[in-house]
């Protein structure tokens, strides 16, 4: 009946998108922190009232008597506005942990709140839901657990029609899920998975983002691989998630990012990755990667680059999964455009997100490790030189580049014929001059393969002072054996 009204009728039209964009940036920063430090984050939707225009919340901590009074007014007040106002005041007070503690210790308080949540006054319902949302944000699991009586209703409302309300319920559920295993243990039998399946068919972007959040919290629970992910894989959720990640004009980056991370958590759990392959995960992810490369080439600021990290990780992890190999999952990613896309993304990462270079190279490693076809493509697309240019960036990157080159070299003489003559040997001699053991070790591996399949390279190696380069490392315990082996080959040659 209604198209979605903008939240703030008085603001400039760009305001909504601006806020969303900023929220997404904050979340990207949080995810980064999370990746690096395993932090857990909650989300808080808070609407500013005119009375709070001072910036900092001007609500004071409420005492027990005040909480009781507000609850009483909300429940039994005679004037509609009076009841709403009472709940609004309660909600503001609940921003403070002290008030939250007082509230949960008050007998009958949650019961009253749940009664208001399920009442026939839509605005009271909304305010009651906002009170619950404030409670869900507490960092104390006892407060989250006090919200247990409300969860069946929060789940029921996910199948409703009011998208703002559904969004609020989802963020509240997500916060509660983060906080307490007891809550999760209740939500599963209460049917959270089927509620999410009903809800993921909503066309509203805000609802889908909120759902992605709640789902990602569920998937990160420590008991997820045993208790949660199997039910999720049994449901229609994976298909819907992949649908929302399909590249094309209908792709919403904010939504796709949430579900890409969800997919990542599912894949990491390794519960049943083969099933994801049958749903087309590899091809969706591959196409998404191509789309990303296209977008960064056109230097679009579409927020698509936030997708890069989870997509790279999903692809890499899927390729390493033994069960996936068994169903020939590798075969689905033979398309050489994937390589071109990766190298376009490498250039982008160099400029904007250097921390993603190792992730991209890790994917390249997994792609080339067992695929002669892709190794051929790497050579025929002339990607060796761009790859070598990445060597000086860092030790981590060097090791990965050298590993990829080893993947190519070990495929045999035909491949090594393309590696030498060329810029490879001088680069190797440079890496041998470094002191990092891992980098040197990987260089030695590559040299061994090169000498094996391309003995002609030995002469060139000797002529470019290769032996001296080797001598530097012959005392190093981890490298000794390989150094000696190479010295033997070189002297024989």
């Amino acid at each position: 009946m209604w198209t979605r009204q903008p939240r703030r009728p008085g603001l400039m039209a760009c305001g909504v998108e601006e806020l969303r964009r900023r929220r997404r940036e904050r979340e990207a920063a949080l995810r980064k922190a999370r990746r690096e430090q395993q932090l857990v984050s909650k989300r808080l939707l808070r609407e500013d009232d005119p009375e709070e225009a001072g910036g900092e919340s001007s609500a004071a901590v409420l005492g027990e008597a005040e909480v009781q009074e507000f609850l009483r007014l909300a429940q039994r007040g005679t004037e509609e506005k009076e009841r709403e106002k009472a709940l609004v005041n309660l909600r503001r007070g609940l921003q403070h942990p002290e008030t939250q503690q007082i509230f949960i210790r008050l007998e009958g308080s949650m019961r009253t709140l749940v009664g208001l949540l399920t009442s026939n006054r839509a605005l009271l319902q909304l305010e009651a839901a906002r009170c619950l949302h404030e409670l869900s944000h507490s960092e104390q699991s006892v407060v989250a657990e006090a919200c247990l009586p409300a969860t069946s209703y929060l789940l029921t409302y996910l199948s409703g029609h009011s998208s703002d309300f559904i969004e609020l319920c989802l963020y509240t559920l997500g916060n509660l899920i983060v906080e307490s295993e007891v809550v999760r243990q209740q939500l599963l039998p209460q049917g959270i998975v089927s509620a999410l399946v009903a809800c993921i068919q909503s066309p509203h972007v805000a609802v889908l983002e909120a759902l992605g959040y709640a789902l990602s919290q569920l998937l990160q629970a420590k008991e997820a691989p045993e208790k949660i992910i199997p039910s999720i894989l049994d449901s229609l959720l994976p298909q819907h998630m992949l649908r929302l990640m399909q590249p094309g004009p209908k792709l919403n980056p904010g939504v796709a990012v949430e579900f890409a991370w969800c997919l990542h958590y599912i894949i990491c759990s390794q519960v049943n990755n083969a099933l994801l392959i049958t749903h087309g995960a590899l091809s969706t992810l591959g196409l998404l990667l191509l789309d990303l490369a296209g977008a960064v080439q056109r230097t679009e600021e579409a927020g698509l680059e936030l997708l890069a990290c989870p997509v790279l990780r999903c692809l890499s992890n899927l390729l390493t999964d033994v069960a996936v190999e068994a169903v020939g999952g590798q075969m689905q990613l033979k398309d050489e455009r994937i390589l071109a896309a990766l190298f376009i993304l490498f250039q982008f990462f160099l400029q904007k997100q250097p921390s993603l270079l190792p992730e991209g190279l890790w994917l390249l490693n997994n792609l080339t490790a067992s695929s002669p076809t892709l190794c051929t493509s790497l050579l025929s697309l002339d990607l060796i030189e761009p790859l070598l240019q990445l060597l000086p960036l860092s030790n981590v990157v060097s090791v990965l580049v050298l590993t990829v080159l080893c993947n190519v070299a070990e495929k045999g003489p035909a491949y090594c014929r393309q590696l030498w003559p060329g810029p490879l040997l001088p680069c190797l001699l440079n890496t041998l001059a470094l002191s990092d053991t891992e980098v040197v070790g990987q260089s030695l591996e590559l040299l061994q393969l090169l000498f094996l399949y391309r003995p002609e390279a030995v002469q060139a190696f000797l002529q470019q002072s290769g032996l001296q380069a080797l001598e530097r490392h012959q005392e190093e315990v981890q490298l000794q054996d390989r150094v000696h082996a190479l010295q033997q080959i070189a002297l024989r040659g």
Partner: protein, 227 residues
């Protein structure tokens, strides 16, 4: 696992019902949005020509709630009229629960079949279990699905008419107050609400089930604050 500090992602919006008149906004400073710190989002811009509507009532016959903002009406409509039963004016939060209600309360064929086979389906979408009686189903939902025993959208059928505020045997404590049956709308039965779905149970607006409501054209909107 460490805990991140509380993240404030402030989404600005109008409060439930705005009681300020436009003239109070005129003198406030207009700030351009720009965060001081990452979490800061400034208060909303206040424009003098703020689109507002005069107070209006819900147009669904029988509903007398009053609104001053379109968003509030949207929420009200979705929650209370979106999935409403035309026969007894009970509202449900989802189409699924409405379907179950119509089947179990208003379908005589259901009653006949229920004598011979398990017809009461578990209310959780995705749970295939069916039961002989609504009591059995409730037991299942409480024991297996950990639902509250007084779940508001699974009241057993009582003999009283719609919207009488008599005691409902399932309301276990007075703490639930005068909310009565969940989601009751108003004392007059509703005609077919303007909802997209069509059921054979939807009643054309010209037919009255004789509950005593006057169906004349109301020239004065009585502000009924009873509910």
């Amino acid at each position: 696992m460490g805990r991140a500090p509380a993240l404030t992602s402030a989404v600005q919006g109008q409060p439930g019902s705005c009681s300020k008149t436009p003239s109070q906004y005129k003198n406030e400073k207009v700030q351009f949005p720009g965060p001081k710190e990452p979490q800061d989002v400034p208060p909303p811009l206040r424009l003098a020509s703020f689109p507002r509507v005069p107070e209006f009532t819900c147009q669904v016959p029988g509903c007398c709630q009053v609104f001053a903002a379109l968003e509030d009406y949207q929420h009200h409509y979705n929650m209370l009229h979106g999935n409403a039963c035309s026969l007894c004016s009970r509202a449900f939060p989802s189409g699924h629960l409405l379907d179950a209600h119509i089947l179990e309360w208003h379908d005589s064929l259901f009653q006949i079949l229920a004598e011979r086979q398990d017809m009461y389906q578990c209310l959780i979408e995705g749970c295939p279990e069916k039961f002989k009686t609504s009591r059995d189903r409730k037991d299942h939902m409480v024991r297996f699905h950990l639902y509250p025993a007084d779940f508001r959208f699974d009241k057993p059928k009582t003999s009283r008419g719609p919207a009488t505020r008599g005691s409902d045997a399932d309301l276990s404590t007075a703490a639930l107050g005068d909310e009565g049956d969940a989601m009751e709308v108003c004392s007059e039965p509703a005609a077919a609400p303007p909802a997209p779905r069509t059921y054979i149970h939807r009643v054309p607006s010209t037919i009255c089930f004789g509950q005593g409501a006057s169906r004349g054209f109301k020239s004065t909107q009585k502000r009924n604050k009873h509910h």
